[in-house]
């Protein structure tokens, strides 16, 4: 058996230094619900594991006012669910994070891990994309920010440079009359992986869509921001024609593969169906705001 070094630094600087020093042989550990599974399967064989859960900034949730929040990358789904106001402000993001795995998995799994694992089917990612989240990244060359949709590079790959760690997600301020939602299609009712994941974030005024963002997962090598779908919704009252146009835009954006989890034809069809359903929930929430 090979020995594995386990580090649990208490500052981000230490973590970045150790991560960069290991030059590729180290892996970041947040909840470990992807990493440990991959290690067991022999896919990941890190020489060093850097646990980031002891770093305060990585596990903090900050209310920035006006609907804006900063969520530490290693915050677990269960902790996020217990936050007194976050779920009211961003119900779609919360439901997406909370769909990950089961009760047990929720105690560990983090949005940072979900994003950095690079799976196009990660549940929280389309909701974060729809929310317009911006990711703060720290690495050997300092700090930078990226829109969340720019982080994934392909299945299992990200655009993080060597030694870079995702620190936090910042969700922007939103006017009154906004709402978001996330739906996924899975064959089972739980303990499954998204065949299609759909995040929609709307701002409404007098029944008319003023702003919209649509995040679409599991239908392409990375989670997609579907701008054409958002355009089809903006300025409309979400009538059937608008919804069908947005659904068509989602279908057009799909570049899925045929695999054991779904056929190309099925995934494309489902993307359209979920757009309509998710938009309806987001609109209802926006109305209630």
């Amino acid at each position: 058996m090979t020995d594995i070094r386990y580090l649990a630094p208490s500052t981000l600087d230490e973590a970045v230094r150790a991560f960069a020093a290991a030059s590729g042989a180290a892996r970041i550990l947040a909840g470990g619900t992807d990493l440990l599974v991959q290690m067991r399967a022999g896919i990941a064989k890190p020489g060093t594991i850097i646990d980031i859960k002891k770093i305060p900034e990585l596990t903090a949730i900050e209310d920035l006012g006006g609907g804006a929040y900063r969520i530490g990358a290693a915050v677990s789904g269960a902790v996020l669910a217990e936050h007194p106001t976050f779920g009211k402000a961003w119900p779609g993001v919360l439901e997406a994070v909370n769909l990950i795995g089961s009760k047990q998995v929720q105690g560990r799994a983090s949005p940072g891990g979900n994003l950095c694992n690079g799976s196009p089917a990660g549940d929280s990612v389309p909701a974060m994309v729809a929310a317009g989240a911006v990711v703060t990244i720290q690495g050997p060359n300092g700090r930078r920010e990226l829109p969340v949709e720019k982080v994934p590079a392909g299945p299992g790959r990200t655009n993080l440079a060597p030694g870079e760690i995702v620190v936090a997600f910042t969700l922007p301020q939103r006017p009154k009359g906004s709402g978001d939602a996330y739906l996924r299609m899975i064959p089972r009712t739980e303990m499954d992986i998204a065949v299609v994941g759909m995040g929609v974030n709307l701002t409404m005024e007098g029944g008319v869509v003023k702003a919209a963002r649509v995040g679409l997962g599991a239908v392409a090598p990375t989670v997609l921001l579907v701008e054409d779908a958002a355009k089809a919704l903006i300025g409309t009252k979400l009538d059937d024609t608008a919804l069908e146009a947005a659904a068509a835009a989602c279908r057009a954006a799909c570049k899925p593969i045929n695999d054991k989890r779904g056929t190309i034809a099925y995934r494309i069809k489902v993307a359209g169906v979920l757009l309509k359903r998710t938009a309806a929930i987001a609109a209802r929430r926006a109305g209630g705001n």
Partner: protein, 751 residues
């Protein structure tokens, strides 16, 4: 005995193995360890079909830490030209299943095994073994395997004079179907397909084996029969049966698939070579790739009926996907599909088709669900066409006592009607169903019935009275579904003592007499029968002892409430002697009290089940969910209602998975693409409603407590019941399983 004033029979007593299981103390296969123990891994074929031209193990043997390497050379060879049977298993196929011989027949087929100081070294050594494969074209699906130009798995096998993948047939016949169909007012013929499914037991196969210096072998493993483990291991290793002690571990599910061995013979050979105890544990991936799934099927069923619904002819043709070696459960669909019905003209034919996937193993009512899927769906269609209630149609055609069953015997009692009537009058069947509850949502209701043979067979039970006047019962059957709890109820009832005073254990092959497999829905039937005989003998002994103490004839003594009493006033007046008192005096009054009874039990009447299910379909996504499920079955007598209900609920849930979500997927190289519980989709709790079992108790007159087999009949109807419900919801019939979202969605887009 079989009355409602029983104190223990019919009670939901706490199972004897419960505390150990819920506190993690129970020893399952992989929990056993020995000093000096080493670990073994299999090298498995990366090809679906390849000739093995040679195997070079020298590099693996030279790796530090490696203690032994085994290939097919070390396994006893059963030549192809002569069948050697152990029960229903042909050792020609078993020896080739545990270790590939001439050919690797499926991806994951073992080709060598290594024992080393730990699993990592064993795995590293496996990677050093050089196998010279001649990769051959492979074939997986039945339709492809029976084509004239299909790659042939076994060149020596011929069918109709030509090399073929059809390795066996079975034909049952009564009357003249052609004549029957000619008389029918309506004839419907349909073709159905289903995908292979796995039993999905939680506990992977595992064993620990010790081959001692004196040539004696001890095996710790979980199985559905320690005597099967002993016999099969003996045959495959050449170690005499009498030198093998097979000790049954607790079992984490088997559902039929643990009625054969995969690891034990190989571990014995490795232990013999290395001189060390050897442990082998499969991963889930190995279980999914290389252990017994149920076959996929391709069935055509044709049924002809009169306008009044009476069936005049039925014909079934069932192709089953055996996997790499022959052995499909043909008698399931061929014998069971029409058995519940009195049909004058029947022709039922089965074909055993080999293809490049893991060899099938038994799965709950082997093969019968596949036959019922076809038959019960066609019956539904006929009832629809004739405008009859599908249950009334079944009632009209029910077999009766005295009818000759298509598979041979003359039926004694037939309690099929009772199951149909119980659904017909159940509030579920009468409840209104809103078929269009919301836009894009449809609901429907379906029914189907099922038949299973049930079995008796060999069973041994010891009953011993402890010195402090309690009872130890030992049976020879692994307890998969709560049989210890049922036996404790029976023995406590007969002895008239508190349930907590009865311990029930499972003996190993050297401590209890021969007992056949836990399978065929036979164990509670057989072991309760034998435990009854054993306990009655002990009661006889107890009466004799009391007679000696009182100086009266044992005949003049009765046993009641755990005490010996004079049978009447004539016998004299004596204060009662309790079991405790008699036990305390046992040694001075003639020695220990106890006995073993061994019987080949008979009288297991068949099992009948009728189910009703409501489904809801999300039309846009093609998702089918089960809303309500009611399952009626004649169980004879529920010795322990909790475990009877558990059997029914478990069978139904497995049937739901089979119908809606479970299937093996293969990539273009013939490799299993979903060898994990993430992508092999068994239902999870939230996928199924609470299954409502309707336990009908019509005592089996041939059993002391009236027991009938319970465990298999409940998996027979669900496939068809759900397909019929989906048809009711959508107006479209589904002839292919599983009805998974992509398939339902695709079918809905077709005209």
């Amino acid at each position: 005995m079989n009355d409602m004033t029983n104190k223990w029979i019919g009670q939901r007593t706490i199972r004897p193995d419960g505390a150990d299981k819920v506190t993690g103390r129970a020893q399952y296969s992989a929990d056993f360890a020995m000093p000096g123990m080493i670990h073994a891994k299999m090298l498995r074929s990366p090809h679906a079909h390849a000739r093995i031209r040679g195997i070079d193990t020298s590099k693996a043997e030279a790796l530090p830490g490696v203690k032994a390497v085994v290939t097919a050379k070390d396994v006893v060879d059963f030549p192809l030209d002569k069948s050697v049977m152990l029960g229903i298993q042909d050792m020609r196929w078993m020896c080739r299943n545990v270790m590939a011989r001439e050919k690797a027949l499926f991806h994951g087929h073992p080709v060598a095994a290594v024992a080393a100081i730990n699993e990592e070294v064993a795995a590293a050594a496996c990677a050093l073994i050089e196998v010279d494969y001649e990769v051959l074209p492979h074939v997986i699906e039945i339709e492809d395997a029976i084509k004239p130009d299909a790659p042939i798995l076994h060149e020596w096998n011929t069918f109709e004079g030509k090399p073929s993948n059809i390795a066996g047939t079975m034909v049952l016949k009564t009357g003249d179907v052609e004549k029957g169909f000619a008389e029918a007012d309506v004839v419907i013929e349909r073709t159905f397909t289903s995908r292979p499914v796995h039993q999905g037991y939680i506990e992977p196969h595992a064993c620990t084996v010790s081959y001692a210096a004196d040539g004696r072998v001890t095996i710790w493993s979980s199985s559905q029969g320690q005597f099967m483990v002993r016999a099969m291991t003996s045959l495959l290793t050449g170690v005499p049966q009498s030198n093998i002690r097979a000790i049954p571990a607790e079992i984490g599910g088997g559902f039929g698939a643990k009625t054969i061995v995969y690891l034990e013979p190989i571990a014995v050979l490795l232990s013999k070579k290395s001189g060390r105890p050897v442990k082998m544990v499969m991963t889930r991936e190995e279980v999914q790739r290389a252990t017994g799934p149920a076959p996929g099927s391709l069935s055509t069923v044709k049924i002809g009926a009169k306008k009044d619904g009476s069936i005049v002819a039925a014909q079934g043709t069932f192709y089953l996907q055996a996997g790499g070696l022959p052995g499909s459960p043909l008698r399931g669909p061929v014998g069971c599909s029409f058995a519940a019905y009195a049909i004058p003209n029947v022709l039922s034919v089965g074909y055993d088709v080999v293809s490049n996937r893991s060899k099938v193993a038994a799965y709950r009512a082997p093969g019968a669900p596949l036959g019922a899927f076809a038959t019960e769906c066609v019956l539904d269609e006929i009832a629809e066409k004739l405008g009859l209630d599908p249950l009334e149609m079944r009632l009209k055609n029910s077999a009766k006592a005295g009818d000759k069953a298509i598979y041979g015997p003359v039926f004694g009692e037939v309690t099929f009607k009772e199951t149909v009537e119980s659904i017909l009058h159940h509030p579920h069947y009468k409840a209104p169903l809103d078929k269009n509850p919301a836009p894009g949502v449809k609901r429907g209701r379906g029914v189907a019935s099922g038949f299973w043979y049930n079995a008796g067979g060999e069973s041994s039970v010891q009953v011993n009275i402890t010195e402090d006047g309690n009872v130890v019962v030992t049976t020879g059957h692994p307890d998969v579904g709560g049989s210890r709890a049922s036996i404790a109820n029976v023995v406590a009832e007969l002895l008239g003592i508190d349930h907590s005073r009865v311990s029930v254990l499972i003996g190993d092959t050297m401590t209890i007499g021969f007992s056949n497999l836990t399978g065929g829905s036979r164990v509670t039937f057989a072991s309760a029968m034998v435990a009854t005989a054993s306990t009655e003998k002990v009661i006889g002994q107890l009466k004799e002892r009391a007679g000696k103490i009182w100086g009266i004839d044992a005949e003049a003594i009765k046993w009641e409430d755990g005490m010996a009493l004079p049978a009447g006033d004539n016998a004299g007046k004596f204060p009662p002697l309790s079991l405790k008192e008699l036990a305390a005096k046992a040694n001075e009054m003639g020695g220990p009290i106890g006995t073993q009874v061994q019987l080949n039990t008979t009288g297991a009447d068949p099992g009948f089940a009728t189910h009703c299910v409501d489904v809801e379909v999300d039309v846009d996504l093609g998702i089918v969910r089960v809303l309500r499920y009611t399952a009626a079955q004649d169980v004879g007598r529920a010795l322990h209602p909790g475990y009877v209900e558990g059997q029914i609920q478990g069978g139904v849930v497995q049937g739901i998975g089979w119908a809606l979500s479970e299937e093996y997927l293969y990539d273009k190289n013939g490799r299993v693409d979903n060898a994990s519980f993430l992508d092999y989709r068994m239902p999870v709790c939230s996928d199924v409603p609470m299954i409502d079992p309707v336990v009908i108790e019509i005592p089996n007159p041939k059993h002391p407590q009236g027991v009938r087999g319970v465990g298999e009949a409940p998996i027979v109807p669900p496939l068809a019941a759900i397909a019929n419900a989906v048809h009711d919801a959508l107006g479209k019939r589904f002839y292919a399983l599983p009805m998974s979202p992509p398939r339902v969605s695709e079918r809905l887009e077709q005209p």
